[in-house]
């Protein structure tokens, strides 16, 4: 578990434990994603309200709707900044270590030895900002390092692939 000072980035671009932060444009990409989710939610909410109006039911049941929408909008507005500030990753010889989260902070550790496959994926939003996600496949499921600068993502994938191939060759 990390205290808030543990997330602080030093002059070398690393935390005191050697974790890296994301590029600033990753935060912009997160905001765009949030804006899209908010717009879609508002449209769905509007459709539901119109439908509800047709039923003629008591308006008291509509009371939670604005509250939920305000909470959702606040969350989508604030969450990219927090997610960005708390997103830290570290790639070592034996492990991939990712810390992320907004309300709940998850610390995920993937032993390099367990990796089966590495994939670099770019969605339309990431593409817009020159970013990419690295998806790590293990026999127990997937792990991700998200919103990396495209070159960094390719380098990570290449180095991990080389490492996995080296392990497999040693076994042969």
């Amino acid at each position: 578990m990390m205290a808030s000072e543990d997330f602080a980035i030093g002059e070398d671009g690393l935390t005191k434990d050697g974790y890296r932060a994301l590029e600033k444009r990753a935060r912009a990409a997160m905001y765009v994603r949030s804006a899209i989710i908010l717009a879609v939610s508002l449209v769905i909410c509007g459709i539901l309200l119109i439908f509800y109006g047709e039923t003629g039911w008591d308006r008291i049941f509509l009371m939670p709707v604005p509250a939920v929408m305000i909470i959702l909008a606040a969350y989508l507005l604030i969450s990219p900044a927090i997610y960005y500030a708390r997103y830290r990753y570290r790639i070592e010889e034996d492990r991939i270590d990712v810390r992320r989260g907004i309300i709940f902070i998850r610390h995920e550790i993937v032993p390099v030895e367990r990796i089966h496959q590495i994939e670099v994926f770019r969605g339309p939003i990431n593409n817009l900002f020159g970013l990419a996600d690295v998806t790590i496949t293990t026999a127990g499921g997937l792990a991700h390092i998200r919103h990396l600068e495209r070159g960094v993502a390719e380098d990570i994938a290449d180095s991990l692939n080389d490492h996995i191939n080296k392990i497999l060759k040693e076994r042969d």
Binding site: M1, I105, H107, I109, P111, R114, T138, A139, G140, G141
Partner: protein, 507 residues
Amino acid sequence: MTEEIQDAGGIPDLPPDEPMLYHWSVALENSLYSAVILFLTVFLPLISMEDTNAPMYALAAYAGLTGFAIYVFYWRWRRTTVTFRENDLHIFRDTLFKQDKKIPYNRIASINVNRGVIDRVLGTSRLMFNINSSVNSVIPEAVVTLRTDLADKIRHDLSRKIYGSNLDAHTEDNVIPSVVSISNRDIILHSFLSQPTVTALTGVFFLGVSIYETYFMMAGGELTAMLILALTFFITFGVIPITVQLIHYYNYKIYRIKDTVYIKCGMIRLYNTSFKVNKINAVRLKSPFLARLMGRSYLEAEVVGLGASDGNEKEITPLMCPLKDRRTIDAVMSQVIPEFVYDRSPVKQPRIAVRTIYARAAVLSLISVAGICSLIYQAVYLEVISSDLSKIFYILSATVVIVFFLHGELSRRIVEMDTGEDHFSFLRGVLDRVLTTVAYDKVQTVRIRDGPLTRPYGLATCRVRLLTASGSAPVVSGYFRAKDLEVISETVLERIKDGRYDYRAYL
């Protein structure tokens, strides 16, 4: 199709390196299934049309489509061959969708036999070959239907090659006794008492409603929608789960030869499951509430590469011992899977976890009471219940708060974890308890999570993902100090680094 290809339906000995056809029962079984499906989806809808010629159209369409299906299945059967070669299994299908599959024997994790009703009538067996899974292997890599004697011979020849077993089919089936004595009475008890308590209570509740509604109907009332609904739920939550368990595990037998575990069971369909011990990722000792009151538990294993062609989950997590007393369970553990026996010195959740547990209970209570009250208000508004009756429901909703806090308090006393040298374990559950023992070497990823209710106290929960047969099977801990949970990931990494983890041991 060349002349050299032999029909496996008539050859008792394994022809080495020669392609052979599956038993013709494959084509028959597929044709029968198609005939039934077409009857329901084509014949019945057409015949119920308001047209004087409807029966003729229905019959013509049904006969035409069924005939076509039979021809396709026959054609597919004639053009599909299997060859048991020196080092691999080769399946070749020369149809519209061509298939050329080679499965090296050293990649095979298990070879299981499955015999359905049609197989038993025609004297055939389905051999299911499962490989070591990459992400999952719910469906077997290959299913080959052959005459039972030939299938048994192939299974034993390959078992000898893969596992080093020197026993023939006859010796194995008739001489080797089960490690522990499991009678069919035990299986009946297991079927009833191994159900999760919530499922059992739901079944009993709907049985009660069904009886009440039936009594009301017999006293001069009418058949109500409530009776149909209650009976449906009773069958779903009560009858079906019990019957499935009973039919699947009847005539249960378990034994181990060298490094291979064999499980045989089944009332209608016979299941012969075998897997190497090194394919077991975790074992789960489960004790549902009622069974625990009787001092009984049952044992399941999480095994890689045990796909079942009929999607039967019971074959993916094989039962290592049905509901028995702890002494019998320990006997199975020490004789069948001694690799998972270790001296546990578990730790309970730290005292400070009580704050997290109660805070969580308070949040859940608040959400639940708000939800229930809103439903009651809605019901009164729509005149489903009277205003007077609603007051009783409002008071009853308060019991939810008691349930959450009681559950929290009990879980604080029960939940524990243990980190041994080769294995770690988590005990969870209040009514139904599950002790999961996991081998460090099977851990794929470790995720430690802390949130607003745990972070202030330095607590977290841990989710471990394993190499699985059923997709994803996470193992989750209770609330423990984050540092204690990090021991798991550190041990996994240390074992890889210092060589205690040897990949060759799991091939």
